[in-house]
Every structure is written in structure tokens, then in C-alpha cells.
């Protein structure tokens, strides 16, 4: 082997989580748009991972309705990931979803990469009210160290979604986005997942003063900033007048 031959530089892992509400009310064009949008954005996420010398991106999907299920039992590298259409039906067991996410956000579970990880990005989509007891699960999740440092974004699909719970989930108002048409849902899924992947999988700019122990989260702040700009740029008349 020539000295000029090399192996890839070790890359950390950034897991992008999709948490998708597949309750009965999501049936029809809502779940249809979600399936389409994620399928379409995957090649872009794959490209971000392929060109990236800081981190590789893996994807994990949890769908929740009556109970919740992981699409695969381990995060899958973006370039290997195959999206299987999600079907809607059943209740909205958000509490179960929070518990299952909390279990996997652990060094012994999904965050087990040998050379370490960057903070994950967690993208939640929901159109309704939880039908189970979710508070305890959410409180525990919010104490999870991985969850604390994650980039979090939530899309409220239509006017019936409980945005207050989503705000508790993301920890701020900026990262909860409401969409009312299939077109804007697709646009939002694309923007949020591409931006979260770009920011989450790169070495950050850190900063915020010279206190090196300060508990900052520059990536989450950068992400919130970009979401804000995007929302200002994409106010859609159609979205306001029609839709869910």
C-alpha cells in the first residue's frame, strides 16, 4: 500500500431523528405529504453526509399512534437508508413515543458510535392532541442529556395540533412551525431536515464569551435563527386562507 493511500478521516455521527404522528387524523393527504417529503429530502441529506469531513449522518424514525415503533432498530447511515411509507390509523400515544425516544438517547443504545457523536437533531411532526399520559415522559425526556443538547424542531400539522406541547418539546417558540397545506408541509420538512443536518453535522462556531464552561448550544441557536428567516421568507397566502 502506497503511503498516499489513506482511509477516511474518523467522523463523528450525527443522528437525525424523525418522530412522526401516524394517528388516524393523519390519514390521507397529511401522511401522504409526509411520506413524499421525507422520501424526496433523503438524497439531499445523503449528499450532506457524503461531502462532510466532520460527521456522517444517520437516520432513525419513530412513528407513534396506538403505541409507537422504530422503523429500524438502529440508526441507519443516510446513504443506506430506505424510507418505507408510514400508514396512519389509531390513537396519539405521545407519551409512549417520549419514553421510547428517551430509552434510545443513550450511549448504550442509539448513540453508541465508537468515535463519538455530535448532538442529535430531533424532528417531530404531529397534528393533534396526545391521547395518553405524556407529561411524565416529556419531563423525563427533558432531563436526558442527549435531548438537552439536541437541535429540536416540531411541525404542527394543521390547526388542531397542540402547539403548547410541541413548544415544551422544543424548549422554545421559534422552532415550532405550523403548516396548513401539503405544499407547505413538504417545504417545511425539506427545509428543517436539511438545515438541521447541515448545522448538526458540522463542527460549530461555539463562542458566546470566554467562559469555556458556559452551557451554550450554538448549533441550536443557529438553527433557530435560520428557521426564523425561512418563516419570514415563506409566508404563503394559500396557507392562511385554505388548508387544514
Amino acid at each position: 500500500m502506497s503511503i498516499l493511500d489513506s482511509v477516511s478521516i474518523p467522523r463523528r455521527t450525527m443522528v437525525l431523528f424523525f418522530l412522526v404522528d401516524t394517528s388516524g387524523s393523519m390519514d390521507g393527504d397529511k401522511i401522504g405529504a409526509v411520506n413524499e417529503a421525507i422520501r424526496e429530502v433523503l438524497p439531499e441529506i445523503k449528499a450532506i453526509s457524503a461531502e462532510n469531513a466532520d460527521a456522517l449522518i444517520k437516520i432513525a424514525v419513530l412513528d407513534f399512534s396506538s403505541g409507537a415503533r422504530w422503523l429500524y432498530n438502529t440508526p441507519i447511515e443516510a446513504d443506506q437508508f430506505v424510507w418505507n411509507n408510514l400508514e396512519a390509523g389509531g390513537l396519539t400515544d405521545l407519551g409512549v413515543a417520549f419514553n421510547m425516544l428517551n430509552d434510545k438517547l443513550s450511549r448504550t443504545q442509539f448513540m453508541a458510535d465508537a468515535v463519538g457523536s455530535y448532538a442529535p437533531a430531533i424532528f417531530m411532526m404531529s397534528d393533534g392532541e396526545p391521547t395518553d399520559e405524556y407529561k411524565k415522559g416529556l419531563a423525563e425526556l427533558r432531563r436526558n442529556k442527549w435531548f438537552k443538547v439536541a437541535i429540536k424542531v416540531a411541525v404542527a400539522i394543521g390547526s388542531d395540533a397542540n402547539t403548547e406541547i410541541l413548544k415544551e418539546f422544543t424548549g422554545n417558540d421559534e422552532c415550532v412551525l405550523t403548516v396548513r397545506t401539503p405544499a407547505s408541509l413538504k417545504k417545511m420538512i425539506r427545509f428543517a431536515s436539511v438545515t438541521a443536518s447541515q448545522i448538526g453535522s458540522k463542527s460549530s462556531g461555539v463562542g458566546l464569551g470566554d467562559d469555556s464552561d458556559a452551557d451554550t448550544n450554538q448549533k441550536a441557536a443557529d438553527f433557530a435563527g435560520q428557521i426564523k428567516t425561512f418563516q419570514q421568507d415563506s409566508i404563503d397566502v394559500d396557507d392562511v386562507q385554505n388548508g387544514w
Binding site: 498516499l4 493511500d5 478521516i9 443538547v149 461555539v206 463562542g207 469555556s212
Partner: protein, 429 residues
């Protein structure tokens, strides 16, 4: 603001317009389009966030001042403002140039050690020229470079944060590549912080691993802001720090650095030990200047020869015997042409440059001499004059001979050459 579509026209500040052909890519700051102007194709970088007038004026000023060297894909024209956004035009990158990240990911590799050294020289030279013009680059990272794997030619993009000394346009950058004082926000980016980033890039170019990412960082499950500040800001440790092995590379993880570090000459290692040691980390004005890197890489180039196995290797001038790093063959200690501080190994294919043979020249690219091998008697070597100057050589027996363009000086112990302008050289064992 919607994205531009094919055939959209965008007005330029200087008058006239460009036509959008298609989208080429998208990054955190903006979108890059293929555009056409007067029948010629260019790249347009369009900002997708609101920009300040200061940012626009700074770019305008950079355009007026021109690129420091040909290595820069420098902004050429600004567009008019579209509300609070705009873009600029630059040359397109030819396809043969590969992103630096592709080298790091082992998707691209240098064709030869010479190409790798040439790339290191080009990058060092580009930043020397940029700093000499009074600019700092401010955001050096792996995304800014395109390299030709065979020639080692370099193209540097994203020149939009380049600003005069003392000025900063608010760029954050990537902390894997930042100087520690920028990571900790004790300093804004400047020429000294650029020189730290340059050290990181040169290390990665040669060793294909990160200089500060060893055992310590590999054992951290989640790289949070706090951790990034620690490993790149408040307490970075070089993976080959001779006095501190806490962050040494890990077998099976930092494979490239472990393989390559031992084969490089000590003076190259010393330069990295300095920049990632106490002085380089904590005393910004003691970081290796570009000039020093250029001298070191020129020396490395002077000592790089092609072995009969077909691969290149280094000759260690400090010892009586060098072995090929590829096949292990003994190469002895070849003769050298000694000019000033340079010692060019007299091996077939080796070259002398204007910086060696022309008085006062800094040009390390213009070839002025090349060592050739007699076709009929392969043991006979000579150096051909491929400059416009006439050289005067004195043979070991005292006889003098003029060496005009295309003439050959034999490679023999004791020959001295006057290249002109007071520059003298001598071939010795």
C-alpha cells in the same frame, strides 16, 4: 425570497446583467448558481440571509483590489441589491479539482508526494500573498479548498469574508479549524489566527487526520459546545506532542497519521510540534509564518526523489543512507547542488527553480534547471540549463565552461556553478 429560475436575469453593479442557468449547490450562507455573462459561464454565489451594506462594500473593495494570487476564486462582480440580499460572480471551478474534504474522506488521493508538497506550497504562498496585501481570510476550513490530485494545483473559494486588518464581518467559522483564541472569543479572526488555521489545514493535507483529535476527543460521547471549547479552545493537545501523550492517536481510528508521521523528516514534524505546542497555541505572534512553511516545503521538495520502484520518497540529508519509504530500497546519499541554504538532491527528474538560481527571486514555481540521465549511459547524470541565463561552471580540475540554455552541467563532486547575479552553487557529495 424565492430561488432564481432558469433564464432569470440579475443586474450587476457595474451595469449589464447575468442570466441564471441552473442551481449548482446550497450551503449555510447561500445558493450557488451557474450563470452566463456575455456568452461565458461563471458561478454566482447568492446570499440567502440579509446582508449589511458594510459587507457589500467590503466585497466591492476586495474586487477593486484584485486577487492576491491565481489560486483564489476571487469575486469578480457584484450584483445589484435585491431588497437586503445580493450575490457575486466568480470563475467556475474546473471539474478536475476535488474538494479538500474528498481527500480527507479518502474519495480523492494525491497522485504523488510531489503533488501533495506542491499543494502545501501553493496554499502557504496564497496566504502569504493575502496577508502581504493587508488582508486576513478569517474563515479557513476544509470547505474552502479545491485541489488537483495530479498536479497539486489549488483553488481557494469563499473569499467573501476576506477583510483588511482590524476588520471583522462577524464570521463564526468552524471551531475544528479556528485558532484557540477565536474559539474562546478572546480575539476576532485576523492574520495570526489565520496562521493557526493554516497549520491545521497543512497538517490535515499531509497526515489526513486532525492535529488535535486523538485519544481525548475520541473518548467523548457527545461533542457539545463545552467539549468543543475545551478541545479546540482552552486546552488543545497536539496528537504528536512529544511531552504530553494524553491525546496521542488511537490505533485503528487515527490510522493515516500513525502511518504517515514516521516517514516525514524531523524538520517538518518540528514545525507542527511548534505550532500546536505551547507557543503556537498561546502566543499568536509566534506562529509559523507562511514564509517558514514555504521554506520547509521547498526543502522537502528538494529532497523528494523518484525511486526505481516508481514511487517517490524522501532523502534524509542528515544520514548516510536513506531507504525508499515504499519499497525499502537503499538509496545511499546522493550528491546535492548547494545554493544558499538549499540543497537540491541531484537525482534524475529533480529541478532547480528561479528562487535557487536567480538573484532576489521568490519564484519557487519557475523551473530553471532539471537533472537528466544520459540515455546511452544511465550512470551519467547532468543538470540541464532551462533558463534564459548563461551559467559559468568550474570543473574539479579548474577548467571553466559556459552553460547556455539547453546545455548540461555534469553532476560531479566538486563542480561549482555561477548562475549570475552573484548566485553561486556547488555540487558536493
Amino acid at each position: 425570497m424565492k430561488e432564481f429560475k432558469q433564464n432569470d436575469k440579475i443586474a450587476l453593479k457595474v451595469g449589464g446583467s447575468i442570466t441564471v442557468k441552473r442551481k449548482l449547490g446550497e450551503g449555510g450562507q447561500g445558493i450557488v448558481y451557474l450563470v452566463e455573462m456575455n456568452g461565458k459561464q461563471y458561478a454566482l454565489k447568492w446570499y440567502t440571509h440579509d446582508c449589511t451594506k458594510e459587507f457589500y462594500d467590503n466585497l466591492d473593495n476586495n474586487i477593486k483590489n484584485g486577487a492576491p494570487t491565481d489560486s483564489f476564486l476571487w469575486p469578480q462582480f457584484l450584483t445589484e441589491w435585491h431588497e437586503k440580499r445580493f450575490g457575486y460572480i466568480m470563475a467556475l471551478r474546473p471539474d478536475e479539482f476535488k474538494e479538500f474534504s474528498h481527500f480527507l474522506l479518502a474519495k480523492a488521493r494525491f497522485g504523488s508526494l510531489s503533488a501533495m508538497i506542491h499543494a502545501a506550497l501553493q496554499i502557504s504562498n496564497a496566504f502569504r500573498a493575502l496577508h502581504r496585501k493587508g488582508y486576513s481570510y478569517q474563515d479557513l476550513n476544509d470547505g474552502n479548498f479545491f485541489i488537483h490530485p495530479i498536479t497539486g494545483e489549488v483553488l481557494i473559494c469563499d473569499n467573501d469574508n476576506v477583510a483588511p486588518y482590524g476588520k471583522n464581518l462577524g464570521i463564526a467559522g468552524k471551531c475544528r479549524y479556528m485558532a484557540p483564541e477565536v474559539v474562546l472569543r478572546k480575539s476576532l479572526p485576523n492574520a495570526d489566527t489565520d496562521r493557526f488555521s493554516l497549520g491545521v489545514l497543512l497538517f490535515m493535507l499531509l497526515f489526513n487526520n486532525h492535529p488535535l483529535e486523538g485519544k481525548l476527543i475520541a473518548s467523548v460521547p457527545c461533542l457539545t459546545d463545552q467539549m468543543e471549547r475545551r478541545f479546540y479552545g482552552s486546552s488543545p493537545v497536539f496528537i504528536f506532542d512529544p511531552k504530553n501523550d494524553t491525546n496521542h492517536p488511537v490505533m485503528g481510528v487515527h490510522t493515516n497519521a500513525i502511518r504517515r508521521w514516521p516517514i516525514f523528516p524531523q524538520y517538518i514534524k518540528d514545525a507542527f510540534i511548534h505550532i500546536f505546542g505551547a507557543e503556537g497555541i498561546h502566543e499568536p505572534n509566534k506562529r509559523n509564518p507562511e514564509n517558514e512553511w514555504i521554506k520547509l516545503f521547498m526543502r522537502l521538495r528538494d529532497e523528494t526523489v523518484k525511486c526505481s520502484c516508481g514511487n517517490e520518497t524522501f532523502i534524509n540529508m542528515e544520514v548516510s543512507e536513506s531507504n525508499c519509504i515504499n519499497c525499502g530500497k537503499q538509496l545511499g546519499k546522493p550528491m546535492t547542488l548547494n545554493v544558499g541554504r538549499s540543497r537540491i538532491v541531484m537525482f534524475p527528474g529533480k529541478k532547480a527553480y528561479a528562487i535557487h538560481t536567480k538573484a532576489g527571486s521568490e519564484d519557487f514555481l519557475k523551473i530553471t534547471g532539471e537533472v537528466i540521465q544520459n540515455k546511452n549511459k544511465p550512470a551519467l547524470w547532468g543538470m540541464r540549463n532551462i533558463s534564459a541565463d548563461t551559467w559559468m561552471c568550474t570543473m574539479p580540475d579548474g577548467k571553466q565552461k559556459t552553460i547556455s540554455n539547453n546545455d548540461v552541467v555534469p553532476v560531479l563532486n566538486g563542480i561549482s556553478i555561477v548562475f549570475g547575479g552573484g548566485v553561486k552553487g556547488e555540487i558536493t557529495e
